[in-house]
């Protein structure tokens, strides 16, 4: 058993190092948070550290005070839901056969070359756009999901995790007469939960953060997913075009610095909310989560 309760110097050192690393990451986060709540003048003058100066919600009002935001939020949610589901389905169905050895699956050698090739030589933007357009998917949610449906890197990762599942488990099931589908479902998937959770997280983050697909495939702001929409909110408008005093005041209250910070805060909150649900799969203690014999 691992010793418990005793604090040797090494343990203390570990805690200290981990705490320092944690604090080092806390600083930029707090700084961003503080900037997002600070006034434009204070932020511009570089007076903001980790506590807001001249507290204001102007930047948030600019981002949140809008119907479109919620529409974009829903589009993003739908995209994450459908996109991640499809990603995971394809990652697993590709990774499992690929994890078989030569004897079990002769064509593995050819398939894996295809997948690697696809990973290294990504499709070029212009022709990818043409394909999506020819399929009539411009302005449809599928244009955000299908082109990136196969995440090749994650397939390779999953494949390697599958290979580390003990052979004995599989052989026992084979003797019971399970089909490859049953073996995958009953043995490999439960045994790879931490890895699947990790890949789910990667896919969610990717779908949530990718703003370029939205820009490319959606021809109207109305259809933009959240990140694309938020990225497009800017402070740099032409001063000579503003005749409304209210607009000008808003312009003066918000600087690029405060707005950029608020954009990050707004867009990262959903990712923080789902995090604990996935985190439990990869930060559990040593005993739980391991393969049961």
């Amino acid at each position: 058993m691992i010793k418990r309760g005793k604090l040797d110097s090494l343990t203390v050192l570990i805690y200290v190092v981990v705490t320092v690393l944690g604090l080092s990451c806390l600083f930029p986060i707090l700084n961003t948070l503080a900037l997002s709540f600070s006034s434009s003048a204070a932020a511009t003058a570089g007076k903001v550290g980790i506590i807001p100066v001249d507290f204001t919600l102007s930047s948030y009002q600019k981002i949140l005070n809008d119907q479109q935001l919620w529409r974009s939020f829903l589009i993003s949610m739908l995209r994450v839901l459908l996109g991640t589901s499809l990603n995971i389905f394809l990652v697993i169905t590709l990774a499992y056969p690929l994890s078989r050895n030569q004897r079990e699956f002769g064509a593995q050698k050819i398939y894996i070359k295809f997948v690697l090739f696809a990973m290294l030589f990504n499709g070029v933007m212009v022709p990818t756009y043409m394909v999506v357009q020819k399929l009539g998917m411009i302005n449809s949610i599928w244009s955000l999901i299908f082109p990136g449906a196969v995440s090749t890197g994650n397939v390779i990762l999953m494949m390697n995790f599958f290979r580390s599942v003990p052979k004995a488990l599989e052989e026992a099931a084979e003797i019971d007469g399970a089909t490859p589908f049953q073996i995958l479902w009953n043995i490999f998937i439960p045994a790879s939960k931490p890895c699947i959770a990790t890949i789910v997280l990667f896919c969610i983050v990717w779908h949530w953060n990718d703003y370029f697909s939205g820009l490319l495939y959606m021809t109207k702001v109305h259809n933009y997913p959240l990140q694309t929409y938020i990225q497009m909110i800017a402070t740099t408008f032409d001063i000579s075009k503003i005749t409304d005093i209210k607009k000008l005041q808003e312009f003066l209250m918000i600087s690029e610095k405060t707005l950029n910070s608020a954009k990050i805060v707004v867009s990262v909150i959903p990712l923080l909310l789902i995090y604990p649900f996935l985190q439990k799969y990869f930060t559990t203690g040593l005993v739980v989560g391991a393969v049961k014999e």
């Binding site: 690393l21 499709g123 933007m125 990050i264 985190q279 930060t283 393969v291």
Partner: protein
């Protein structure tokens, strides 16, 4: 009772595997392989008005341009040095961090730290660069520290001596938390029985680390390393673009920033495609070499 699967012949099982591969392969063919024909743009002076079929063919001119520049040598070496550093630290720090975290028993503390270090990944470089500039500025904390111990202050981000180091370290700082997730996942897969057996044998922390933990996550470390290698020509556009200036072009101008500046004059789809092709070919060579190395020196198969 023995089910049908037991009696299934190997060829029949293989049909199951083919069937499983089918949906993924369809997506790959439509959205990856068909658009790959666009690579021909690398050999054209592509003009949107003419399209891929009609654009002018210029052979290897795009490549001659990229390799023939006065700055080519410098740009490629900057790119490779910076990204090599990032690949190295990008694996080393997350692995060490996840090993350290693994030693911590207090669940709440562990999760809290883990959540905090996960977050900087989501700060865009536009925002994070301002933090980096603040820290390394002439009157920033690092220089204050230097002056306190009697060293002359340094203009870090204007210094060719320091620029690459700062790029590599700040990138690792921002990304290590997110990068450690995969190793934490791998750590949970290690059979606890092994640790118990080792404890009984009286193995200490180091022994357990060297003989159980590290070998347990080594396959993942290797695969992450291999998959990072094709990125050797991607040194991180967003970061460098937000932090460099003409004084550090000598040490910090990378392929992507250079091509971006060229592309600003004229939207050069062709040049971009040519650069992409170079990256892909280099990546392929590296990944094949890595695979060869791993299979030669261990009994593992990477792909």
């Amino acid at each position: 009772m023995k089910g049908i699967g037991y009696f299934m012949s190997r060829p029949k099982k293989q049909w199951y595997y083919h069937l499983m591969m089918l949906p993924g392969m369809i997506f790959l063919i439509i959205f990856n392989f068909i658009p790959m024909f666009g690579i021909v743009m690398a050999f054209q002076d592509f003009s949107p008005a003419k399209g891929i079929l009609e654009s002018r063919w210029i052979g290897l001119d795009n490549f001659k341009f990229i390799f023939g520049l006065k700055e080519s040598r410098q740009i490629f070496s900057n790119t490779i040095i910076i990204s090599f550093g990032k690949i190295l630290l990008g694996i080393l720090i997350p692995v060490c961090f996840s090993l350290l975290l693994n030693e911590i028993k207090a669940q709440f503390f562990k999760r809290m730290v883990q959540t905090i270090v996960y977050m900087p990944h989501f700060l865009s470089w536009v925002v994070f660069a301002a933090v980096v500039q603040g820290i390394f500025s002439y009157d920033g904390p690092i220089n204050a520290l230097l002056m306190a111990v009697g060293v002359e202050p340094v203009m870090f981000l204007g210094s060719n001596q320091w620029f690459r180091t700062i790029m590599v370290t700040t990138d690792s700082w921002k990304e290590f938390g997110y990068g450690s997730i995969i190793y934490l996942a791998a750590l949970t897969g290690i059979d606890p029985g092994l640790y118990e057996a080792a404890s009984i044998d009286g193995a200490g922390r180091w022994k357990r680390l060297l003989h159980i933990t590290l070998p347990g996550i080594m396959p993942i470390i290797l695969i992450m390393l291999t998959m990072a290698l094709p990125n050797i020509l991607n040194a991180g556009f967003d970061q460098i673009f937000n932090l460099y200036n003409p004084l550090v072009y000598k040490s910090g101008d990378i392929l992507d920033t250079y091509v971006y500046r060229v592309g600003m004059l004229k939207r050069q789809y062709s040049l971009g495609t040519a650069v992409g092709l170079i990256k892909s070919v280099v990546g392929m060579i590296l990944i094949l070499a890595a695979n060869k190395l791993v299979t030669t020196f261990s009994d593992r198969r990477m792909f």
